[in-house]
Each structure stands twice: as structure tokens, then as C-alpha cells.
Amino acid sequence: MASAHSVIGTQNKKGQTFTDTWKMLYEAPRTPSFFTGSEVIKEALRRASCDVMIAYPITPQSEAAALIGELFAEGYIGDYFRGESEFAVMSQCAGAAFGGARVFTTTAGPGTMRAMENFPMWAGARLPIQMIVTCRGINSPLSIQPDTLEIAYLLNTGMLVWHAETAQDFYDWILKGYMVSEEPDVHLPLALCCDGFFVTHTKDVVNLTPADMCLPPYDPYRSPVPCMDMECPPVRMMRDPFVMKSNYISYATHASWQQEIWAAIERSRKHSIHWLNGLIDTENTDAEILIVASGTAVSQGREAIRLLEEEGVRCGLVKVKTLRPWPEEEIREATKNAKHIFVPEFNVTGWLAKEIKATIPNHERVHAGPRVCGGMTMPPEIIVNEIKTTIGLKKSFVMAGRGS
């Protein structure tokens, strides 16, 4: 098998040139294009040298999953099919990754929950699958609307978890995600999350890399565990199935294996910093008031900051890009001057605020809100009101129907 490096500069069957990823993303010309988030996922996949994509319909990721089918029909993807449920699809993804393929899939909300048993298995088996999560409400009652609650469940699976704010993030991070996931010292699956509808179904200007360039292919022989293709000796990795036995060796093996997964997440830090230019982005963190957010809540926070500035209230911003690895040091440093830290979220439990409270000293500074859920939007005005009332100023806006 040719290694990924030896094919750089050669062409695939579609005439795309395998290109060094850094050159492709940072040196090649970019073309501004006006696309929906779903179309952006397709365009990223066109350039991702993906071997296998497995699809299943669930709103709001169905369009993206179907568009990648078109890419398969055009010859850009090695194989593609519709599975029978998210549980099956995530297992099919695992099978393909065990067999040495670069694998992609998409899911959302109840689909994420149905597939959940697979995710710790993916991490434990060190399968660098990329899964797009277009977050939506989790039943019941039935909802298809945007809500980020499912991310809370993904945080302890052993997967890398990133939360994109915009379609541009999405485009770049799909390609960068494989670079981080497939590093031999990481080799973990990535849940690349966005807020459904807000990102998938709205149009935005996204700067695309050239369509005739694509990522170097995945090299399964850089994996820290053997690829299941009978191309390397089928050595008995265990002389005894010790993980199934009730003895100290079996517990110690299982424990060290789990610790290794979390150590691999830690090791992904340096690669994520390299590719994402840091795990967080910051603006004006010398301000006494800070908004810390991830996903679409960052955009709403940014607009709230503009409104507050008009009223003479200065407020800084921290955009959290990776949730796993968790940017612990970065958040401590960025929040050290803040007296008030607001964490706007699109979910009922406030999982991001809880993570931040567990990270920083004097966590009474954290105001876990405002929060919306079940598909409600978060107008920047409610962030402004929350901030102003908390610091003892009068509300700026009357919010109809929101009990204000």
C-alpha cells in the first residue's frame, strides 16, 4: 500500500490532486461561494478522499447525507449506502473503519441517542470515524428543532467533540478533523457538532478550497492498533480473553485501556491547536463581563456584545471550539479578569456552564444562561437583558411572550 505522503502530487480517478493538507487549506486560493450548511458538508466531502459514507434519514442532516450520495454517484466516494437505523449505521461505520477505510457519517438528535452504544466502542477500538452531528431536540415530546442537549451525552464517550459556529468552521473543520483524528498518537473518532437548521439550512458565504485538490488518503497502517484486513500477521493479541475474566489482570487491562483513550484525547490537544489555531478564540478578555459560548450561541453573543457597546457596556467573548479536548488552561486564562461570566446555551441543562464552573476558580462568577431549548431561538436581546439585570442595570428590551 502506498503511504499517504508518497501519493501527494498524484491524481485520483476524478482528476483531483492529492495535496498536502496545510497547503490546501492555508496556501491555495479560496473561492467565496454562497451555500447552505448542507451543501458545505458536501463540498468538504468532495475534497476529503473519503472511502465509505453511510447514511440514514433524520432531520436536519438528511439533506447533507443525500448530497453525499450524489458525490458517490459522481465517483468521489468509494462506497455509500443507506443503513437501517442509526445504531446499525454507526456499527457499519465501525466495520468500514476496522477494515482500514476513511469513514464519514452524519446524524442528529434521536439518531445520536439511538446510536449511543457505538460511540464508546468506536473510541475504545480507536476508529478515527468522523460523524457530523447537526444537533436537534431529543424526544419527548417530539421535536425536530435546534437544541444542543445531545452534545452533553457525547462528552464522556471518549470521542473528540468539536462545536462549529458557522458554515465556514464546518467546511474547514471537516477537513482538519481527519488530520487530527488520524494522527497515530490520537486515532480517535470525532463528533463534529453544529446547531441544526441554524447552520445546515441557512445560506452563508463560505470560502472554498479548489475543487481539484483533495486530502491525502487515510493510511490505516499508521494506526496504533492493527487494521483488520489480514495484511499484517494475525497475531493473537491476547493469549487469554482477559478482559472477560474476573481477575486483577483483566481489571488492570481494562483500566489502562480506558486511561489510554483519555490520554489520546489529551494528546490531540497539540494537533487541534495546530490546525484550529487554538482551542478557543477570544475577544476583549480584559473586560469585566465575558460571554463564553460554543456553536451558534457564539454568534448570538457577538451580536449582544455589539448591542451592549451601543449602551456603553463593555463585554468580551470566548468562543469554545473544542469540547473534547476541553480547553481547561485556555478558559482559566481567558476568564481570569472577568467578574461576570455569561454562558448562553441552546439546551435545558446548561452543560457548557457546568463544564466551565468545574474548570475555573471562583465559579460563582458563572451565570448559567440565558438558555433556550426545544427549538426556541435566542435573540441577542435576551442575552443583553440577562447581562444588564445581573449587573444591576435596567433591561433594554421588552421581549414579547417571554415572560419579561
Binding site: S91, G95, R236, R239, P241
Partner: protein
């Protein structure tokens, strides 16, 4: 995989485990007519196992691993249960991931291997218990067949959940009293061989593992048909002697009793028309190969 790949560097030879040295010296990777008769004269692809003494499943494992037509390019997929205690001692790449998802894993795996190795043979064989195949994993078992995924599904049917201690399963006989069936199972043994036929399997066999020559034949047929045509299914009776109250020595007799005419494991097969044609072609080639080998041997001795 070429047999070259398992060779040991001379400098490291003496520190390699002896069972690995044996694999290099006398395993039957790449041997064209490998089969159950190699057992006892060559290194088997299964090392010691931790199944109960006398467990028919261990016999089934040995026969199957001796009979795979192409172990050097075969990847096996298992599931949770007694079989998952054995796979770590098997010298063929194998995957355990979750309970019941084996046919979904195999679907993704087979497709990945087809994308990565176009024009090369890479066989995929699923081997799981009846709980995994028929109960928790039935959806994925059937859907893989509907999609005509090109791999073999083997079900070790012991008619109950053995590894968790003998609970009722879908393949249990009606009326059998077991854990979770305190007044006896209330519905019939699921007719999976018939369902397999209707779901698109091209080669289906229901039998016991009492005769190694029969196991060899059906394994070879199932793998060849799956490789060339589409899904195949083998349901093999491997009784759990522990849970049905038998002694270590009684497994073989239990299988013989259950395969008599009109018993539930009387030999039953279904072969689709394209599969019949393929198997006839393979049998003709085999005959030709054996005849020419005989001729060569005759010339050599003359």
C-alpha cells in the same frame, strides 16, 4: 495476506511464542485443499480456548477454522457471548464490537475491503450465537441479507443464552423451561433458515456439527457463494451441554439425536439457482485438480 507476512526475523525467532513459531512452520494458510483432515497434522488456527470441557462449540470452531477456504485473506466478525471468549485465540483477524451488531460490522467491513482491495479476494465471515443473530441483532441480520451483502453468516445455535446462564432465546424450542421462561417457552423456535431463504440468502444450511466432513463442505460452499454471488447462512447446532443438563461426553450424542429425520436439526439446505451453478463449476474444477494431482503422483512414482 501472503504467508511471507507471518515469517519471523531470524534474530527474534527464539523469543517469539512457540504457538506463533508453529503457525509459521505448519499452519495451513494458503493450502488449496485445506480441511478438517489437517487437524492433528498441522498447526490449527485456534489455540487453547476457555470453553467448557466437551463443549460442541469448540469442535465447531476447530472444524470451521480448518475448513475456511482462504484464511489468509479472511476476516471474521463475532459478537458477545461464549464465542467472544474464543476469538482472542484465533489466528485470523477478527472483530468484536457490540452485542448483536455483527452483520452491520460485517457490511461496513466487506465494503471497505472491496474499496481498498479491488480485484482481490477478501472474505468476511460472521460467527455469532443465536441470541446475537436472531434476537438482539435480527434487524441487522436480515437487513444485510436484503442488501445482498457478500459475506457468510454463521449462527452457533445452542437454543439459549449460554454465556449469561441459560435464558430463553428465540431459537429455543417451544415448551423448554429456562430462566426467563419459567413456565416453558410459549412460542415456536424461530424459523430462521426459511426466513434466510426468503430474505435473499443464496445458500442456507441447517445442521449439527457432529460430522467434520459435512462442516467442511458447507463452510467451503457458503464462503464461495458469498464471495461470488451474495449472502449465505449456516445455522449449526452446538448444544450447551451445561444448560441442558448433559455431561461433557454427551455433546456428540445430543447432536446425533437432534439430526435424525424429522428432528429439528435434520439436514436442510436451500441453494439458489446461481449458487447451484457456481458450486457445480467449483466441483468440476476440484475434480479436475485432484485428477491431475493423481496423475502427477503416478508419474512421479513410475
Amino acid at each position: 495476506m501472503s504467508k511471507e507476512r507471518i515469517k519471523i526475523s531470524e534474530d527474534l525467532y527464539d523469543i517469539m511464542p512457540s504457538d506463533y513459531q508453529d503457525l509459521v512452520k505448519s499452519a495451513t494458510y494458503g493450502k488449496e485443499d485445506r480441511g478438517w483432515k489437517d487437524i492433528g497434522t498441522s498447526k490449527e488456527l485456534i489455540e487453547q480456548h476457555s470453553l467448557c470441557a466437551g463443549c460442541p462449540e469448540s469442535m465447531a470452531f476447530r472444524y470451521i477454522l480448518a475448513s475456511l477456504p482462504n484464511p489468509e485473506d479472511t476476516v471474521m466478525v463475532g459478537s458477545t457471548g461464549c464465542t467472544s471468549l474464543v476469538f482472542p485465540m484465533v489466528a485470523v483477524h477478527n472483530i468484536h464490537s457490540l452485542f448483536g451488531n455483527q452483520n452491520a460490522i460485517a457490511s461496513g467491513l466487506k465494503r471497505a475491503l472491496s474499496v481498498r482491495f479491488p480485484g482481490r479476494i477478501k472474505d468476511v465471515v460472521v460467527l455469532a450465537g443465536d441470541g446475537a443473530t436472531v434476537d438482539i441483532g435480527l434487524d441487522m441480520t436480515l437487513q444485510a441479507w436484503f442488501r445482498q451483502e457478500k459475506f457468510t453468516t454463521i449462527c452457533f445455535d445452542n437454543e439459549l443464552y449460554a454465556n449469561t446462564g441459560g435464558q430463553e432465546s428465540g431459537l429455543m424450542q417451544k415448551g423448554f423451561v429456562a430462566k426467563m421462561a419459567p413456565v416453558g417457552k410459549l412460542f415456536d423456535k424461530v424459523r430462521l433458515p426459511e426466513i434466510a431463504r426468503e430474505s435473499g440468502c443464496h445458500y442456507v444450511v441447517n445442521c449439527t456439527v457432529s460430522k467434520p466432513s459435512l462442516v467442511e463442505k458447507v463452510i467451503r460452499n457458503a464462503v464461495h457463494v458469498a464471495r461470488e454471488i451474495g449472502p449465505t447462512y449456516l445455522q449449526l447446532y452446538t448444544p450447551c451441554i451445561l444448560e441442558i443438563g448433559k455431561n461433557s461426553m454427551e455433546g456428540l450424542q445430543e447432536m446425533r439425536d437432534s439430526e435424525k429425520p424429522n428432528e429439528r436439526f435434520a439436514y436442510k439446505e436451500y441453494v439458489s439457482e446461481p449458487a447451484k451453478q457456481l458450486l457445480a463449476e467449483l466441483a468440476a474444477k476440484d475434480k479436475e485438480r485432484k485428477a491431475s494431482a493423481k496423475q502427477l503422483a503416478g508419474q512421479a512414482s513410475a
